[in-house]
Symmetry: C2
Subunit: 411 residues, 2 copies
């Protein structure tokens, strides 16, 4: 069952790309940043599978880094969007689909009284910050150290091409650490516009942390007391953990939330959801984009949310995530590895204990590719509703074989 992983076409495409694109491929999908053995170019995707340009097939555990929640090329969703293209995607204003989608978001997300739509997750996080400042008249934004909120100067993980002033009003705290948050709040003084947090701590290359309910409630109380906005950056986790918003289970309602990735199962869309207290501020700012009223992606989102609400898709994803996690634990034990598996099972982070330099993780993931599964050595992964028990079992067989390869090569 081992693939030969001939990469001749991939290498040829990367050579072509390198002549006309910075680094050949930019951003988070540049696989040279992941580790050895990763194909860079894909020929097609379907369900929970991707095929590279050399014809190798993989059961995919990255889901396009999140957007794929109900399966690549889910036919009902693509049909809804393509039907809308047949009517009209863009024009000189929105279609009724925008109203239906806003109503649906408000009806679905527990704290949402209004919504507006965009294209990138970064559009949504940036707009949340702007709305918070417009509402409060204050400037400081408290963000957790190491959190990813997007890739524009105010929040980019890189400071190349960024000025000090772009981040002049950011104050850092540690996720789940009350004392650290209190200190940041004190530092903001009477100039605090918002506390912004990801749904859980999903920083790269470390154990993930679910938010502590007491910590979220403490942040909520601070915002209630000061008038600052509590912002949930739900771009990565949103809709996958809970269709009501990722903090619904904790009973903590943010004032603003940012969504994108899985909201339309891969069709390009982002959303800001907000509470009534933020509506006036949101009505005063100016944000816009040429394609933000495109109805096709909105029709895809309507269908995606309908399926998430009316089927057991999310319970299924969770069950598949549990099956995968339990299986990995067993396989690791059998092969003499100890794993740290953290974060929600729907977005698993798998680390090898004692593997600080990622030697084992990189060898394991490279071997996993040869055995037909696409994993990530240091970023959270994603499961989708197209993963079936047989896919998980097949992936576990591949993981077992990859661990055996790893023992031979890396340990």
């Amino acid at each position: 069952m081992q693939q030969k992983l001939v990469n001749s076409r991939d290498n040829a495409l990367l050579a072509r790309a390198s002549k006309v694109v910075p680094n050949g491929v930019w951003g988070h999908m540049a696989t040279r940043a992941i580790g050895p053995g990763y194909p860079q170019f894909f020929a097609k995707s379907d369900g929970c599978r991707v095929w590279d340009v050399d014809g190798n097939e993989y059961i995919d555990f990255m889901c396009a880094w999140g957007p794929n929640i109900l399966g690549y090329k889910q036919p009902d969703i693509d049909r809804a969007a393509i039907d809308q293209i047949g009517i009209g995607d863009i024009g000189n204003g929105p279609t009724e689909v925008m109203v239906e989608l806003a109503e649906t978001v408000v009806d679905t997300i527990d704290y949402a009284d209004w919504a507006l739509f965009q294209k990138n997750g970064t559009d949504a996080t940036t707009t949340c910050v702007t709305v918070a400042r417009a509402t409060t008249g204050k400037r400081k934004i408290l963000v957790a150290r190491g959190a990813y909120h997007g890739a524009v100067p105010w929040c980019s993980p890189s400071v190349v091409g960024v000025t000090t002033e772009d981040r002049a009003h950011l104050i850092l705290f540690d996720y789940n650490d009350r004392a650290s948050l209190d200190e940041a709040v004190a530092q903001a003084g009477d100039d605090m516009a918002a506390i912004m947090m990801t749904a859980f701590r999903h920083d790269v290359n470390r154990d993930q942390e679910m938010p502590e309910e007491a910590f979220l409630k403490h942040a909520r109380a601070i915002c209630d007391r000061t008038g600052a906005a509590l912002i949930l950056d739900d771009v990565r986790a949103g809709f996958r953990l809970d269709v009501r918003g990722s903090w619904a289970r904790y009973g903590v309602k943010p004032d603003l939330g940012a969504y994108s990735k899985s909201i339309a199962n891969g069709w390009p869309l982002a959303a800001v959801a907000g509470s009534k207290s933020m509506l006036e501020g949101a009505s005063k700012i100016f944000v816009t984009g040429s394609f933000w009223y495109g109805s096709a992606a909105m029709a895809a989102a309507l269908k995606t949310i309908e399926i998430l609400r009316t089927t057991d898709a999310l319970a299924h994803i969770e069950a598949m995530g549990q099956r995968f996690r339990a299986g990995l634990t067993e396989i690791a034990a059998r092969n003499g590895f100890e794993l740290s598996q953290t974060g929600p099972v729907q977005m698993p982070m798998v680390r090898f204990l004692g593997d600080e330099d990622l030697t084992i993780a990189n060898a394991f993931c490279a071997a996993a590719l040869r055995h037909g599964i696409y994993l990530h050595p240091r970023h959270n992964m994603f499961l989708c509703a197209a993963h079936q028990p047989a896919d998980i079992d097949r992936a576990l067989e591949a993981a077992d074989a990859a661990m055996k390869d790893t023992i031979r090569t890396a340990r």
Copy 2:
């Protein structure tokens, strides 16, 4: 031929939207900001026509504010994109379509040695600024007073929710004014990262100005001397005036250019194009987005650029623009109005002389809607390849009738 313009469904939708969306509709497509009589919600679009939700039909001169260049629902373009969706839109990396598109952009745009792709025009202008800073190690960005470069805090036309620091390194000059540019350059001192300009001066509510060749060459010489980047913001005009880039006819090559709007005939895409001198800087920055490698919009862009390069579409758009401009001049004279018609005919700005408070323009545009054409009283308009001589002639009849109505009501 006059339409009744029953707006009952439009009003009902706006009332619904206002309950769940800030202002009902946000951004540049909020028609309450244009003037009285404008429908807000559209049912469909096709070719050069849009239909509002009450069934009124309009020959459209806004083209979705630019994206529509070859006709709404152009079948070859939509087919290319939908075929790609059938193969796979997004996955864990790009497809070959990305490489083909980058090669095509480099082969098409006269100064481009590389390209990368995004979703919003603002993504592209922001990335140009970041690349310029990464390349030069300097901070100041010179922009023309009143120019629109996007809707995020560093460049938004609104300052609500924006901090002073967001614009700390912007220095303003006046478009086409050498002395003013020289002054800004002196102010930047040895900290100048870039001079950024739109393709022509297409500011709202004023006569448009084509760039003076001597001014562009002066800016180019300053950048050559100082090492600063010359950035062409071609988001609005790009591909419509000249497929090689909007300054190709002046023989002035920018170092970086931002594209979006018409690049994929309405499918959501943006691009940064750059010269070799900017490649190293572009390779060092981190910019990304969840949907930036979506292949469907790239397939649409490939087909759009192919059509623009291999057919007389751009010459046709220009001819239709000339026909429209000449006809309006004649009709205005017949009705006793004097018009200022500025900017390229493909993106016409039409103003009534002596109409500072827009009383006549607003009355004329409202009447035009009743006669079945969708114009804008104070923003540049757009023509597309789907406009045929008969459409222009029909639109001129409507404009004539609208001027006669305007005489009765507004003068």
